[in-house]
Amino acid sequence: MSAGGPHPPTVLGSSAHGGLAVAGHGEGGHHPRQQHHFYTMGQQLEASILGMWVFLVTEVMFFGGMFMAYIVYRTWYPTAWAASSNQLNVIMGAINTGVLICSSLTMVLAVRSAQVGSRAGQIVNLILTMMFGSTFLVVKYFEYAEKFHHGLVPGPNFNPHHVLPDGTIEHIALPLGSQLYFSLYFMMTGIHALHMIIGIGIMLVMLRWAIKGRFTPDYYNPLEVSGLYWHFVDIVWIFLFPLLYLLGYNYRG
């Protein structure tokens, strides 16, 4: 178990370490960002990365519950699923997918900028990441507005319809199970959007720290770990897009 075992004993073997237990910052080679309870920066970084991955596992299970409901009802109501999927705007969905992929690229470039010591790179890429994220949310807003417009929100006002150019209302007949589809659509994309909003908030904090020059090639843990979160939110969308938007093409109404 040595690969995943305790930090290298060589650091502890030194007699200076006994003093480090009560020493303040900067003594005995302490990095200013090293927290008291860690022996080395390497240990601190490994703990942070492992910690964020453990947290992402909880997020996988969190979204997973909704995917479970999706799978069950899709097996029960395949036609409702396809017919409802047809109501979604694939172009907006595809744009959003593209936007998120771009944001993942800029995110990883922001982290790389810290790795190579480029403060400008960090700032530019973080701003771009947030812009892509915000674009996603704006597109989402328009998508949701369209759903409201067409009466596709589940509940007492569920009334799928088109409004034709001459003003008449054309009802769309959706089979039983469609309200379940839209309930899951709103919950899944809604909670995803919430995670996006939180992500943008986190990036604002990262941007502030980047501007202050807090990230250097030997310490950019918060940026790296926030990046992991951001990529995870992208991955959720990678699955949501085909599962929600791309079902209806082969549906024979």
């Binding site: 920066m41 490994e46 992402l56 996988v60 299970m61 992929i101 030997d218 310490y219 079902l247």
Partner: protein
């Protein structure tokens, strides 16, 4: 003093991964328009898994992380499969038994 950070990946690698993701996205939209019957869903999911793998391996840097971190990442996926698999074992086998009147 080693801080344990991963080696620096060239920008072109990241751009190549981005390109791969863009291509796969286009592919999945294209395939959805084709008629593969029951295969449409598995194909779409396979493409999604490929995209996710690219993000995890390159963008999230899992390739440079410790085996423990890799196991952690995998365990989330595995647990999801446990929930789906055993949960579906109920829904897919309910019709196997014939109850009079149903």
């Amino acid at each position: 003093m080693s801080t344990g950070h991963a080696p620096i990946t060239p920008v072109r690698t990241y751009v190549a991964v981005f390109g791969g993701l863009a291509i796969l996205t286009t592919l999945t939209v294209f395939v959805a328009h084709q008629e593969f019957g029951a295969l449409n869903t598995p194909i779409a999911l396979t493409i999604a898994v490929c995209k996710a793998t690219l993000v995890v391996w390159f963008f999230m840097g899992l390739r440079y992380n410790t085996p423990l971190t890799k196991v952690t990442a995998a365990s989330g996926f595995i647990w999801l499969m446990i929930m789906f698999g055993i949960g579906l074992s109920d829904y897919l086998t309910r019709s196997w038994i014939h109850v009079p009147g149903r």
